[in-house]
């Protein structure tokens, strides 16, 4: 099952070798720079690819200082 916890990388690679047309769920960030402030500032949009199922959402791993995710 694509996307199982802990298996994302391994299965993704295998899929690419087996069938180039099979795409794993993935995302990109539209921007990687930001002018920070005491309050919320937008870094960029998190854009899922076409293989991402509807209802997917984003969370941060750990408890990184100074970051948050907004799910639209």
């Amino acid at each position: 099952m694509i996307g199982a916890v802990g298996l994302v990388g391994r299965f993704g690679g295998a899929v690419r070798r087996r069938a180039a047309s099979s795409v794993s769920p993935d995302f990109t960030l539209t921007n990687a720079t930001v002018t920070t402030q005491w309050g919320v500032a937008v870094v960029g949009e998190l854009v899922p690819n076409g293989a991402t199922p509807a209802g997917a959402y984003f969370v941060l791993v750990g408890n990184p200082a100074g970051f948050a995710v907004e799910n639209g």
Binding site: V5, V8, A32, V43, E45, G55, L60, V61, G66, E70
Partner: protein, 899 residues
């Protein structure tokens, strides 16, 4: 120290060559004064042993022997002896008495009768433990042009009365130059197999401060004798109004300032002065003939003689001279607070006093080892003062040792328990002040909260913080309370919790908490009172102020216009590393006053005018939308943004820390006990399983916030980031910065959300429900009217989440009963229940302005946000989750650059 004979006939202390007697008739230069026709004198402190002196003996103490054999009877010797005669021999000192016996002889003459001069007219001396100053010499009691030569002997028991006897000086003695005045201290005799009472110093005889002076001893012109007041001044004799050592006496003679009546002051130059404080430094000549030192010299080492091991027979002994002879020691001036800020990069300066060069060493008190690069090294003293100035590493407690460079045995009382780390200055009024104690008291550690293992800190406060009352002045004084890992100090638990939270992020890094906050004061009181001066403290004395004149300290009878900020800054070397402020309600809304306050603080804490300031915005949750509360919050934010600039840090909402509701912003600190447990402020110890709501919680928050300033990687806690509606306000979705949860299956509390329909002027927290989304990323608010009012509000609709809503929790909260109410709050996954928002660094709530999230249209997609100001680049790992909340679809670590 002194030196005593531990075994006679072994060794003595000897000059390389004798000091010869000068031709007294010739004018000499003495003490820099030419044309002096004067004599000489010698003196020493002696303690005669309690036993051992036997009949018909005359034991030598110091002088010049002939050929190192202890034979003083030749024509050219001078020697001072103590004689004992138990039978009244005519040749000794009289019946059963101890008296001086002197030989003062030149090759062509003598002082007194030929042979030993037995001072039969002098008072007898007494044995140990008594100590005597003994002396003898020859003086010109006439003039330079018409000299009259008089020999004299004196002694004075320490604390007793002087005694003397005069000696006739033979004419030939005056001009003779071949005899020796001094060659050795102690006498070990020669070619002996047993003590020769005429040639050796007896066992357990102790000597100290042996000196030879060229010149004339002060003279009593009425009584024609060595002046008793001068003798008493040296010996701390009975009734002595002035105390001198040899140098003091000689200096006073030179200056003509001896305060004695009927006194021919004379003139003396102390050419040889051996302190005899020990067998090392005590042998160095302290007189003007520098370098002419004593050497510990073995005697009687030939085969078959008594001394079979060299350099035995003399031993260091406790001092015998009066206290005023003790060598001056370096004195370290203890700073008011033994803490140095600067986080290990600033120079710690400690002053002290000493007449000459000293050496210093810094060491750890834990193992007494020297700090790296800070072992003994020379520090130059100028005009009697020295300053130790070193950059010390973060840590402690340390010990500073100082000793005389010329004599390592002369040591200062060490300065101990010195810490080096971060100085955090607390500003504002009672809400802040009470966390660390009251205005004049440390209060109690109601929950017996111990200092975390390994943590080190100190809290600084002022006694009489108001300078007394309006009518009566009471001197404000710096007070400190040490916080030491494992101990439970008697101080309000907030201080302990603050240090513990700090130490959790900064192990081994001491924290100094300066409680500069003062109850009931407004910022304007400190900053710009009448005529540009800061005000007198409320209810305090008129001579004492908040800021205080720079460089002025309060006195015993007047505050002298000094003030709290000035005294505390001076006590810490004017170095602050971080300022922490929560100033509700007294913060000024005037940027000019805010800037003035900052400038005046910087002027006093002037060693680091770039220290960051963390402001903890407050918000009164009285449901009425208090303009005062909102205004105060806005003023905090504006001060960060507009006044402090790059130095400003917008910290978490005070409510995240204090969990207070009714508006005092005082954290609970009562010691009310229900059953066997205190009901307040109890959870920091993690014992009772309830929420901490008191000063321990406040303190922990402040400690963590302070840590956050220096380590931005300390993670944020829960916060909200945006609000949106796609139902025309029938529902409003509040996006959380990270997934949240409630406790024990409780529904999220709607009354933790505050809603304004007028742009933040007033707020309500009723009329709607709240539900946490299944994945925890948002809360959905549903107004009871279907959204009519919220839709009508348009852009004035704002949403705020405040977690300080538990009624009755203020100060006297019954925490045990209130605890379940906290279950419905929103916690992030990493937040332990008892530490909800406890200083969650970076929980800045909804940004700036009057607060609250404006309600926008729904964003079409997801966004990565930053929630605090930072610089440089930081990594962040984003995980894309499947709708099931379990499956990870993709995870990426992204590097985000702040520009």
């Amino acid at each position: 120290m002194s030196i005593r004979v531990s075994a006679h006939s072994r060794s003595d202390l000897r000059l390389a060559a004798q000091v010869s007697k000068p031709n007294l008739s010739l004018a000499r230069s003495i003490a820099g004064q030419g044309g002096q026709v004067r004599g000489w004198w010698q003196a020493c402190f002696v303690r005669i042993p309690a036993s051992g002196f036997t009949d018909n003996a005359i034991y030598p103490l110091f002088g010049r022997d002939n050929g190192t054999q202890g034979a003083f009877s030749a024509n050219s010797d001078h020697v001072f002896r103590i004689g004992f005669d138990g039978v009244g021999s005519a040749n000794n000192s009289g019946a059963s008495r101890l008296r001086p016996v002197v030989v003062a002889r030149a090759s062509t003459g003598d002082v007194g009768a030929a042979g030993n001069n037995h001072m039969a007219a002098m008072a007898q001396m007494t044995r140990s433990p008594d100590v005597f100053l003994v002396g003898y010499g020859v003086r010109n009691t006439g003039t330079a042009g018409s000299p009259v030569w008089t020999g004299f002997v004196f002694h004075c028991r320490v604390g007793g009365t002087p005694s003397f006897e005069l000696l006739t000086v033979a004419a030939g003695y005056v001009t003779g130059t071949t005899s020796g005045l001094l060659r050795q201290v102690f006498s070990a005799g020669g070619a002996l197999t047993a003590v020769n009472k005429a040639r050796v110093t007896e066992d357990n005889t102790a000597l100290e401060h042996a000196a030879l002076a060229q010149g004339d001893f002060p003279w009593d012109t009425v009584n024609n004798r060595p002046h008793f007041d001068a003798i008493a001044a040296l010996a701390a004799g009975s009734g002595a109004a002035t105390l001198y050592d040899y140098a003091d006496l000689a200096a006073a003679q030179l200056a003509g300032t001896l305060p004695f009546s009927n006194c021919d002051q004379g003139l003396s130059e102390i050419t040889h002065w051996f302190t005899l404080e020990n067998l090392t430094a005590g042998l160095t000549n302290q007189g003007t003939a520098a370098g002419d030192n004593l050497t510990h010299t073995a005697q009687n080492t030939a085969a078959g003689q008594i001394n079979t091991a060299a350099l035995l027979g003399l031993a260091d002994e406790s001092p015998i001279a009066p206290a005023h002879w003790a060598p001056p020691v370096p004195v370290i001036t203890a700073p008011p607070v033994k803490f140095f800020g600067g986080r290990g990069t600033a120079t710690a300066s400690i002053a002290g006093t000493y007449a000459s060069t000293v050496q210093r060493r810094w060491e750890r008190m834990s193992d007494n080892a020297a700090l790296a690069g800070l072992d003994w090294a020379t520090v130059t003293a100028t005009a009697g003062a020295f300053t130790v100035a070193d950059v010390l590493p973060v840590g402690g407690p340390y010990r500073l040792r100082v000793r005389a460079a010329a004599d390592n045995a002369i040591v200062a009382v060490p300065l101990e328990d010195v810490l080096v780390g971060t100085v955090a200055v607390m500003h504002a009024q009672s809400g802040m002040e009470l966390t660390f104690g009251g205005s004049d008291v440390w209060s109690q550690n109601h929950i017996n909260l111990p200092v975390a293992a390994g943590a080190q800190g100190i809290v600084v406060n002022l006694s009489n913080k108001l300078g007394g009352s309006t009518a009566t002045y009471a001197q404000p004084l710096v007070q400190t309370r040490r916080l030491i890992g494992g101990e439970t100090p008697a101080i309000r638990a907030g201080a302990v919790a603050c240090l513990n939270a700090w130490a959790a992020e900064n192990p081994g890094h001491p924290l100094c908490i300066v409680n500069m906050a003062m109850s009931g004061t407004a910022m304007a009181d400190w900053a710009n009172g009448p005529n540009g001066a800061d005000l007198t403290t409320n209810g305090g004395h008129a001579s004492w102020r908040y800021m205080g004149a720079i460089g002025v300290m309060p006195g015993v009878s007047s505050g002298n216009g000094s003030g709290t900020a000035e005294v505390m800054a001076a006590a810490l070397g004017r170095r602050a590393d971080v300022h922490v402020m929560m100033w509700h309600p007294g913060i000024s809304t005037d940027p000019a006053v805010q800037a003035d306050y900052v400038a005046k603080i910087d002027a006093r804490w002037s060693a680091n005018t770039n220290a960051p300031w963390v402001l903890l915005p407050s918000w009164r949750t009285d449901n009425t939308g208090s303009a005062k509360g909102v205004t105060a919050r806005a003023a905090h934010v504006a001060m960060v943004l507009d006044v402090l600039g790059a130095r400003g840090w917008l910290g978490p909402h005070w409510g995240d820390i204090v969990m207070d509701t009714a508006g005092s912003l005082h954290a609970a600190y009562s010691g009310v006990v229900v059953g066997a447990q205190p009901v307040l402020d109890s959870d920091q110890a993690g014992v009772f399983g309830r929420l901490g709501v008191g000063v321990s919680r406040t303190g922990a928050g402040i400690g963590r916030v302070a840590a956050w300033v220096f380590n931005a990687a300390i993670p944020v806690t829960f916060r909200t980031v945006s609000a949106w509606s796609d139902t025309n306000r029938a529902t409003v979705n509040v996006e959380l910065g990270k997934p949240g949860r409630t406790l024990n299956g409780a529904a999220v509390r709607a009354d933790a959300f505050h809603v304004s329909t007028n742009g933040g002027s007033s707020w309500t927290r009723s009329g709607f429900t709240a539900a946490l989304a299944a994945n925890g990323t948002r809360v959905v608010l549903t107004p009871a009217d279907g959204g009519t009012a919220w839709a009508a509000a348009g852009t004035n609709l704002r949403i705020e989440y405040l977690r300080e809503f538990i009624d009755t929790s203020e100060e006297q909260a019954d925490e045990a009963l209130q605890a379940p109410l906290f279950d419905g709050l929103i916690y992030d996954a990493g937040t332990w229940r008892g530490r909800l928002g406890a200083g969650g660094a970076g929980t800045v709530l909804q940004g700036t302005g009057t607060g609250g999230l404006t309600v926008e249209a729904r964003q079409p997609g997801s966004r990565l946000l930053t929630s605090e100001r930072f610089s440089g680049s930081r990594p962040v790992t984003v995980r894309m989750m499947a709708p099931d909340g379990v499956t990870v679809l993709r995870e990426r670590t992204l590097m985000i650059a702040a520009v």
